[in-house]
């Protein structure tokens, strides 16, 4: 417990990124891009409904400076490293404390976070951003990309559906069709 307190891991803005970086995505990758970790965290917050990390709306949608500052601190503490630009992974020291972090986060939130990472971490940026803008329309407020992505709503919704990231009801809505029309468009 003292290690957790020493590194400030009782704070969700530190414990959650550690946990996220320990989980595997669909391609068995644990590494996460900066944008992906931001969006995975925001999706996790949406699923848990807890609002443990503060997010604001910027040109790339929902972004948390609180999260970025805490990730920098985790890097300074030697728990997280950046093997290449804008990509994060746990160090050996970071991996050692994962089981302790898991115990304070709780099973239900671990499952939610694992789901969020599995759903988003391997998505290309355009699909990731489209997913988040559609999920949380208010995050388009200062967006520089939402409009461009909206023009591609049919192929983007189709791709997210085919990859199992959204259900057909959502895909229909996001592509501006009824569910039936959307499914019919796939079989053409």
């Amino acid at each position: 417990m003292s290690l957790l307190v020493d590194y400030g891991l009782d704070s969700p803005a530190r414990s959650l990124p550690i946990l996220a970086l320990s989980l595997k995505d669909r391609n068995d990758q644990t590494t996460m891009g900066i944008m992906h970790i931001q969006k995975v965290m925001r999706y996790f917050e949406y699923l848990s409904g807890k609002g443990q990390i503060e997010f604001s709306h910027y040109k790339f949608g929902a972004v948390s400076y609180e999260l970025m500052e805490n990730i920098e601190t985790l890097e300074d503490c030697g728990l997280v490293e950046e093997p290449e630009k804008d990509h994060l992974r746990l160090t050996a020291l970071g991996s050692d404390i994962v089981s302790d972090v898991r115990s304070i986060v709780g099973d239900e939130d671990v499952r939610r976070l694992a789901f969020a990472k599995t759903q988003l971490n391997d998505l290309p940026l355009d699909e990731l951003m489209f997913f988040m803008y559609k999920l949380l329309p208010e995050t388009r407020e200062h967006s520089t990309q939402a409009e461009t992505l909206e023009k591609r709503k049919v192929p983007l919704s189709g791709s997210l559906f085919m990859k199992g990231r959204i259900n057909s009801v959502t895909a229909g809505k996001w592509s501006g069709m009824t569910e039936k029309q959307f499914l019919a468009s796939l079989s053409k």
Binding site: F115, G164, V169, K173
Partner: protein, 164 residues
């Protein structure tokens, strides 16, 4: 075994693949159910009166209390039959969902909800000698000729089932 079906699974098996008689045979040893929302979705399709009659011959309707914990995963939209199917199975862990959409299957896996798909049902029928390998080939042919959307995974699983 009690199976709780999502709408697309009912559409595949009953309407698109024409397996009414096989399903009726399958009900002799299994309980096939649908939540009211799935019945509603099925009935709202382009169906004849006989389709609805057949639905009621095979599937019994079970009452379900919506599991609010599932709603965020479905963007707070309870119109998807899968949310009701999963709600039921979370409340009755001995029973099994029949779901084919990738999204809901992934979710079942994460939430440790027991699930199978249409092909899982066909496999069970095959093992119980309700459906032969030859009849499975005919199902595959029907899928090929149909314009109804069918996932690549489903077709691959059907191929494996035929080969087994």
């Amino acid at each position: 075994m009690k199976y709780v079906f999502d709408t697309s699974a009912v559409i595949y098996l009953l309407e698109k693949w024409g397996l009414l008689e096989k399903l009726l045979l399958f009900t002799s040893e299994n309980d096939l159910c649908i939540p009211p929302r799935v019945r509603e979705e099925f009935v709202s399709g382009d169906l004849g009166a006989s389709d609805v009659k057949n639905l009621d011959r095979v599937f019994s309707v079970v009452q379900v209390k919506l599991d609010a914990d599932l709603l965020p995963y479905f963007n707070y939209d309870a119109s998807d039959g899968a949310v009701w199917v999963m709600s039921y199975t979370r409340q009755n862990p001995g029973d099994c969902c029949v779901i084919d959409e990738e999204f809901a299957r992934d979710l079942c896996q994460f939430l440790r909800v027991r699930f199978t798909g249409c092909i899982g049902i066909l496999k069970e029928m095959h093992e119980s000698s309700i459906i032969s390998s030859r009849e499975l080939l005919q199902v595959k042919e029907r899928i090929r000729k149909s314009s109804f959307y069918c996932t690549g995974r489903l077709l691959k699983e059907l191929d494996n089932c035929i080969k087994a």
